[in-house]
């Protein structure tokens, strides 16, 4: 399984990596500081390197989460394999609504992420793969 963490906060990224390594060793994690660098990787997508999960922060420099999603939208590529989770500390209801309405966003998580929640997410993704 392949997981991307898109967040400008290095502490958060390290934290999540630690949590993932606790759950399963066989998961590759890629980190991106903001939407634009993640977008650069998206453009190189092919069937092999598509991530299964993107954990996407909203407030980021250069390209924030929503900008990432709208750029993603414009790409017109089949991203069905990839499940995007918004991970934010925002409690702005607008963000929540927007996440709910977006067809690309699989779920909306509020920081910090509990390790059990991560486990559930991976189980879900795994089961959907089989």
């Amino acid at each position: 399984m392949k997981v991307w963490i898109v967040d400008d906060n290095a502490v958060f990224r390290t934290l999540v990596k630690m949590q993932i390594s606790k759950i399963e060793k066989n998961i590759t994690v890629e980190e991106f500081e903001h939407g634009k660098s993640a977008m650069g990787a998206v453009l190189k997508y092919d069937s092999d390197n598509q991530p299964d999960i993107i954990l996407l922060d909203i407030n980021m420099p250069v390209m924030n989460g929503w900008e990432f999603i709208s750029a993603y939208d414009k790409l017109d590529v089949n991203f069905d394999r990839t499940w995007i989770y918004i991970v934010t500390s925002s409690i702005d209801p607008k963000d929540f609504e927007r996440a709910r309405d977006s067809e690309y966003v699989h779920d909306f998580l509020v920081k910090p992420i509990e390790i059990d929640n991560l486990k559930k997410i991976f189980t879900k993704v795994n089961s959907s793969r089989t």
């Binding site: 400008d8 906060n9 290095a10 502490v11 958060f12 390290t14 934290l15 630690m18 949590q19 606790k22 500081e33 903001h34 407030n59 420099p61 250069v62 934010t88 500390s89 925002s90 409690i91 702005d92 509020v110 920081k111 910090p112 992420i113 509990e114 390790i115």
Partner: protein, 1380 residues
């Protein structure tokens, strides 16, 4: 030349020439075997057959019966060992011609141009007029083909129409060219005597001009009705589609109505089950498989249950799709049979008539050599010779065999002599009658006038009795001379003393028996006239000489007549001593007289019942004329009897007087007692009648004529009737032309059946009437004037009005020709005419149609089925620029523009070849290259059989319409584009302008088909022009920098032009100098064409829009330039709108300032709250997460990592809180303290505090602020503003160049503006502008970025009641303007 190679036709037939071809191997060639094997032709030997080395040669082929055929062969080698040889076998063609010769007399008489060709297209017959027309002699034509006698191209034309005729059941009208001569020939099939099909043609020599003829011919095909000459239908059967086609005639023959649709099964059901039906099915199958044609005659049961015989020809053909199509003709031969029977009946009728003539009517052919053949014999021949007419027609030699050998040579000599002198022939000969023994025959024969062919006709009469009488007469004379009559000598007692030998020979009594007897008692019998006996006695008693005739009886009791002279012989005393009697036997003479008397009685009887007349002529003139003769001549016996001899002679036609005189003289010399002659006599009404005279002549003993008994027969009608018979089979009847023969005076002598049908008169009614009386008033003069010329030997064809018996006027075409007499004099006029009502109607129609077509505003093109142009009307010439001569024979694709899809043409052909009309539009090209549009309706034209013969296209030039349509479409497109674009710009936010413009450029670019559009803005602040928006057609790449940052003073060069014309067009490189300079600016490295349009408002140019095309010469249409101008105006309006909005905003801003501040504050508060919670939460969440994971692990290494992570997280939290504090300060201070600040010093001082950053980054700072400028401002805020904006300039510097920061001030009224301009990374304002001044917004990947600087600056500026504006371009730098 060699037209056929069907080996099966090579039979030893009597026909002229046969061809066959053989293929073979030279190595083992045996011509004899080859010919026999492959042709079935029995060959006895081939002479000089080894000589096949030559490519052509002659050889003689001997048939099985020893007959020799001359053959010509043409050899060609296919390869070394195989060859291909064509033999042309020739034979005497006389027989063939003989059989054909009979019907053609009238053609010659009528001067019609007629020819007949055999099945190999060789001329069998050509009328002399036709020969004259093509300038050849008849012997140069007959037996030859057109290829032998005509120019190649003319022969080709004739050949193709011949073939067409042979393959068609129709009556073909063709236009043929013989060099510079053009004629119209009506061709039709004729059945030759050999059973094969040849071609007959009547050449119509009318006066139509060449072009008119061609037009006529062209159009007549569309107008002409089905030919009426043959009840022959056409059928076609496609096996694959199982579709059967019947022409109307086939339907008629089947007696089904015209809507009947035949199918194979139903068609076959018309034939009775059994042999006939099987034969047909077999033939169809066989022909379909083998391709060999069939010819069947089978019995059909029609829909109305009538049985009739039909003849079906079938051929097969494989069409384009590969399916086999059977087709052929269908003929009702029952009709033909009936006709044939009718003809036979008529012939029989004529035979019956001729049988009443005491003799045989005959017609024979004699070529002056060895060929002699009867053509016609009346049935009387059986009585005369014992041979039937059929036998003798089949074998002439039988007639010769019956002739007495002594006479045969004499007859042959006579024939030969007559042939070479072309004089009438009369001779006598003996024939051996199987029952009656030797009979004497006399025949009279003569040839017809103006005859090319050696045909003789005449009469044979049995003259046996007459000859015997004559012979006996001669004998008597001999006897008389030799024995000097009967001599009887008596004594005075009149008792016989002596008789001579003659007495004994005649009476049978010898002298001893009769001596002493009285001659009277001895010789006289019961029939002896007692009065005559008494007369003799009285005469003798008176001692008178007696001379007289008396009937005596011989010893056997046979009566005999004597002429008797008795004289007394006196002694010297005058006393009668003896009587001397000389008697001449006049028995034969008496017999003759009696016979004559008897026949006279017979004739008188006949005259009462027949039309024959009897005339008895003696020295006194006409002694007797029978009622028949009176009827013939109109004179009564009384009148005739009073005629002087000269009057009798005057009554005879002057031309015949001399002939008659010759005949009579000849008769007198030969002392003929019987003669026959035909003379014309003038009737009482002035007209001549042809009379056949059979005269018996009684001579006086002195050799003078005593009496003539003449049997007179009116043969005028008979002669004509004979001709009429010939006419039955006559070509003229076949082509349906009316023939009228008149005398020189115009009296009608003869009309044929077609004339009867056409004019409504019967032959009997009209004969003898003057033709002028039948002509309508308007035509009399014309006829008379023509007749006068014809009588001088000329021939005319005129179209004139004729009148029927009923008085209806009909237009006819009449050819008037002279009839030539024996002496090359004109003896009458023959008129050949036909009804041209239809022709005139069709001509009228043609005229109308032609006129319509020629004056049509539509283009009309007529092609043949291969799409070769046959006709175009003047409109076509006008529209396309091609003349008819140029396009004639060419394919209409000539004018294709080439821009249309091929599918259109495919559809077109698929449609019309199916017989349907096609409608559509074409784009075509004229001769001079003009493109034009046409609507076209293309229709197939079908001939009588339903086959497509031509296509006609009617087209209308719709170029204007089309162009107009396209123009309208273009305009409406432009309109909609403009509407679209305009819509975009209505209620458009400033931030959306660029997007809208981009889209608009693309729309316009693709609409007007340019490759590049760019908008150039004038930046008066920086005194330069730059492209701020550009659209490129993707495939083209240009140097984008050519118009970037052009100093305005250069651009302004064309401002005058802009303001004056509104548009500058660079359509060529050789523009004037000013333009050249501009071109240098705008020209890319590719040759291009430009249009520049200004964006102006109130004479201020804000920029311009440019349209470029590359590599192609593009001429813009006016409306396109209009569109560009509209667009430019739209952009101008947009500019104005922007300016107006700006002004509006400025004026409004003051009014709404307070409210705005409140709103702004509220907004900021909300934003602050949200950011606060978010940022704090974020750090808090991290810390909680770290705490959680710390509990999960015991690994010391990991724990160490977690620990340092915790330090980072807490540091971040503290920093955030400090920022928040800062911000809170600004937010809190609504009215910060203001104090006067010397701006320049303050800026310099503030920058000094960050001098390390400036110098280490090598930033070039230029400050341009007036020394004395003082502003009233909060020092802390101003310091913060300067620091933030300056450090941003350093922080976000461009990696590729030395950073540069310009700071200058501007005073606009009481407003001071402080500008910070850098040459750093810049920002895409379209993308980030709206959140540039937001909190925690980071746009560059710089580790020092916190996203608070501009947020704080903005808040501070606004807290002071000012504003901050930004201009930026990615990669170029930013300009921040602070309104203090």
């Amino acid at each position: 030349m060699i037209l056929g190679s069907d080996l099966s036709i090579l039979q030893p037939s009597k026909f002229v020439t046969e061809y066959f071809r053989i293929n073979g191997d030279v190595a083992d060639v045996n011509l004899k075997d080859y010919i026999e094997d492959q042709s079935g032709f029995p060959v006895n030997a081939i002479e000089n057959d080894g000589n096949l080395q030559n490519s052509t040669g002659r050889c003689t082929i001997k048939g099985i019966k020893g007959e020799a055929y001359q053959a010509e062969y043409f050899l060609s080698r296919n390869s070394k060992n195989t060859f291909f040889c064509t033999f042309v076998i020739e034979e005497n063609r006389d027989n063939e011609i003989n059989e054909l010769s009979l019907p053609y007399d009238f053609i010659e008489l009528s001067n019609l141009m007629v020819f007949i060709k055999d099945h190999k297209l060789r001329y069998l017959y050509a009328s002399s007029s036709y020969c004259d027309f093509i300038g050849k002699k008849v012997e140069e034509i007959v037996g030859k083909t057109d290829f032998d006698i005509l120019q190649k191209n003319a022969a080709d034309i004739c050949y193709s129409s011949d073939i067409q005729t042979l393959n068609s059941d129709k009556y073909i009208q063709t236009v043929e060219h013989l060099g510079n001569k053009v004629f119209v020939a009506d061709k039709f099939k004729v059945e030759l005597p050999n059973g094969k099909t040849g071609i007959g043609a009547v050449v119509i020599n009318n006066e139509l001009q060449k072009e008119e003829r061609i037009k006529h011919d062209r159009l007549i095909r569309f107008l002409k009705k089905t030919n009426e000459y043959a009840r022959i239908g056409y059928w076609e059967y496609n096996e694959d589609t199982n579709s059967l086609f019947w022409s109307d005639t086939v339907r008629e023959i089947h007696e089904v109505d015209s809507s009947y649709i035949p199918e194979y099964k139903t068609a076959i059901a018309f034939y009775k089950e059994g042999a006939g039906r099987e034969a047909l099915e077999k033939a169809l199958k066989n022909t379909a498989q083998s391709g060999k044609p069939f010819d069947l005659q089978i019995k059909l049961v029609t829909a109305k249950n009538n049985e009739l015989w039909v003849r079906i020809f079938g051929f097969s053909e494989t069409d384009k799709d590969g399916s086999v199509v059977l087709y052929g003709t269908f003929q009702d031969i029952n009709k033909e049979t009936v006709l044939r029977e009718n003809l036979q009946k008529t012939k029989n009728l004529i035979k019956n008539i001729s049988d009443q003539i005491p003799g045989v009517i005959f017609e024979y052919f004699y070529d002056g050599d060895r060929t002699l053949k009867f053509l016609f014999l009346s049935d009387g021949v059986k009585k005369l010779t014992g041979f039937g007419a059929d036998e003798l027609l089949a074998d002439f030699k039988k007639a010769f065999k019956s002739i007495h050998p002594d006479d045969l040579i004499k007859i042959q000599k006579s024939l030969y002599k007559a042939h070479h002198s072309q004089s009438a022939l009369t001779d006598e000969f003996r024939v051996f009658h199987p029952e009656k023994g030797i009979r004497w025959m006399r025949f009279y024969a003569r040839t017809d006038v103006k005859r090319h062919l050696n045909t003789w006709y005449g009469v044979v009469l049995d003259v046996t009795d007459e000859v015997y009488l004559r012979e006996q007469d001669k004998l008597m004379a001999l006897v008389s001379a030799k024995t000097n009559n009967i001599i009887i000598v008596t004594d005075e007692q009149r008792k016989i003393e002596w008789v001579n030998e003659s007495f004994t020979r005649i009476t049978g009594y010898k002298l001893a028996e009769v001596k002493g007897l009285s001659p009277g008692s001895l010789l006289q019998g019961e029939e002896t006239n007692p009065n005559r006996v008494q007369e003799i006695r009285e005469s003798l008693d008176k001692e008178h000489k007696f001379s007289g005739e008396i009937l005596n009886y011989s010893k056997k009791g046979e009566k005999y007549w004597v002429h008797l002279v008795i004289q007394a012989v006196f002694d010297d005393d005058g006393k009668v001593v003896k009587y001397f009697s000389i008697q001449t036997d006049i028995t034969e003479k008496k017999k003759q007289e009696n016979a004559l008397r008897k026949s006279e009685e017979k004739y008188r009887l006949i005259t009462e019942h027949s039309s024959d007349g009897i005339l008895i002529i003696d020295k006194g003139g006409i002694n007797f004329a029978s009622p028949g003769y009176e009827r013939m001549t109109g004179y009564t016996q009384d009148e005739l009897s009073r005629w002087e001899p000269q009057k009798i002679i005057d009554n005879i036609h002057p031309d015949d007087q001399v002939n008659l005189k010759d005949i009579i003289e000849q008769t007198l010399v030969n002392k003929n007692t019987s003669l026959r002659f035909i003379i014309r006599k003038r009737k009482k009404d002035g007209w001549f009648v042809s009379l056949e005279n059979q005269a018996q002549i009684i001579y006086n003993s002195d050799g003078s004529i005593q009496k003539a008994y003449v049997n007179v027969r009116d043969v005028t009608n008979r002669l004509e009737a004979e001709r009429k018979i010939r006419f039955q089979a006559h070509l003229l009847n076949q082509v349906g032309q009316a023939v009228i023969a008149t005398s020189v005076d115009g009296n009608i002598l003869y009309i044929n059946e077609h004339a009867e049908a056409l004019y409504g008169w019967t032959f009997a009614e009209i004969v003898g009437i003057n033709i002028l009386d039948t002509e309508p008033a308007g035509s009399k003069d014309l006829y008379q004037s023509l007749a006068a010329k014809v009588l001088k030997g000329e021939t005319f064809t005129v179209e004139m009005q004729a009148q029927t018996k009923k008085g209806d006027k009909i237009p006819v075409s009449a050819t008037l020709s002279p009839i030539w007499g024996d002496k090359n004099n004109v003896i009458g006029i023959i008129s050949v005419s036909y009804d041209i009502t239809e022709k005139i109607e069709s001509q009228k129609q043609i005229k109308k149609l032609t006129k319509g077509i020629e004056q049509s505003p539509a283009t009309i093109v007529i092609t043949d089925t291969s799409a070769r142009i046959e006709y175009v009307n003047p409109k076509f010439e006008e529209v396309t620029g091609y003349s008819f001569e140029e396009v004639k024979g060419k394919n209409p694709r000539l004018i294709k523009s080439g821009n249309l899809d091929a599918q259109i043409y495919n559809d077109l052909w698929n449609t019309i070849t199916q017989g349907k009309d096609w409608r559509g539009e074409f784009q075509n090209k004229s001769k001079d290259g003009r493109i034009f549009w046409e609507t076209a309706t293309i229709s197939p034209i079908k001939d009588e059989s339903g086959n497509i013969s031509n296509y006609i296209a009617v087209k209308e030039d719709i170029t204007e319409k089309k162009e107009y349509e396209q123009y309208i479409a273009y305009l409406s497109k432009i309109q909609s584009v403009l509407t679209n674009i305009a819509k975009k710009f209505i209620n458009l936010g400033v931030d959306q302008i660029n997007d809208a413009l981009k889209e608009s450029l693309e729309i316009i670019g693709s609409l007007i088909n340019v490759e590049r559009i760019y908008l150039v803005n004038y930046d008066y602040n920086n005194n330069e022009a730059y492209i701020f928006l550009e659209w490129l057609e993707s495939k083209n790449v240009v140097n984008e920098d050519n118009l970037n940052k052009v100093p305005l003073h250069m651009v302004s060069k064309w401002n005058d032009d802009f303001l004056k014309d509104g548009v500058i067009i660079f359509d060529e490189l050789n523009s004037d100098k000013k333009k050249k300079d501009i071109l240098n600016l705008i020209q890319t490295d590719r040759q291009s064409f430009h249009i520049l349009l200004p964006i102006t408002h109130e004479k201020v140019i804000y920029g311009f829009i440019g349209f470029d095309t590359f590599d192609t010469q593009r001429i813009f249409r006016d409306e396109e330039i209009d569109l560009m101008q509209l667009f430019a105006r739209l952009l101008s309006n947009l500019k104005i709108k922007a300016i107006a909005e700006k002004e509006l905003m400025e004026s409004e801003s003051k009014l709404r300032q307070t409210l705005d501040v409140v709103n702004e504050q509220n907004k900021k508060l909300l934003e602050f709250t949200s950011i606060l919670s978010h940022n704090i939460r974020s750090h808090a969440a991290n810390i909680k997460g770290i705490a959680d994971i710390m509990n999960e692990t015991d690994d010391p290494v990991e724990l160490k990592n977690i620990h340092s992570l915790l330090q980072v997280a807490s540091g971040e939290l503290i920093e955030t809180l400090s920022h928040l504090n800062q911000t809170m300060n600004i937010q809190r201070k609504r009215n910060p303290k203001k104090e006067p600040i010397e701006l320049k010093k303050f800026v310099q001082k503030t920058l000094y505090s960050i001098r390390d950053q400036i110098t280490s980054s090598n930033t070039d700072v230029i400050i341009n602020i007036p020394e004395n400028q003082v502003i009233n401002y909060n020092k802390g805020y101003l310091e913060s503003i300067i620091l933030n904006l300056s450090t941003n300039a350093v922080r976000y510097r461009h990696p590729g160049r030395n950073p540069k920061l310009e700071i200058w001030s501007e005073i606009d009224g009481d407003q001071s503006i402080l500008h910070f301009k850098d040459n750093g990374l810049g920002l895409d304002l379209d993308e980030y502008g709206y959140r540039l001044f937001g909190m925690y917004q980071v746009f560059h990947e710089n580790p020092e970025s916190r996203g608070l600087g501009l947020f704080i600056v903005k808040n501070q500026v606004e807290a002071m009641g000012g504003e901050i504006k930004v201009k930026s371009k990615p990669g170029e730098g930013s300009l921040f303007s602070v309104y203090l």
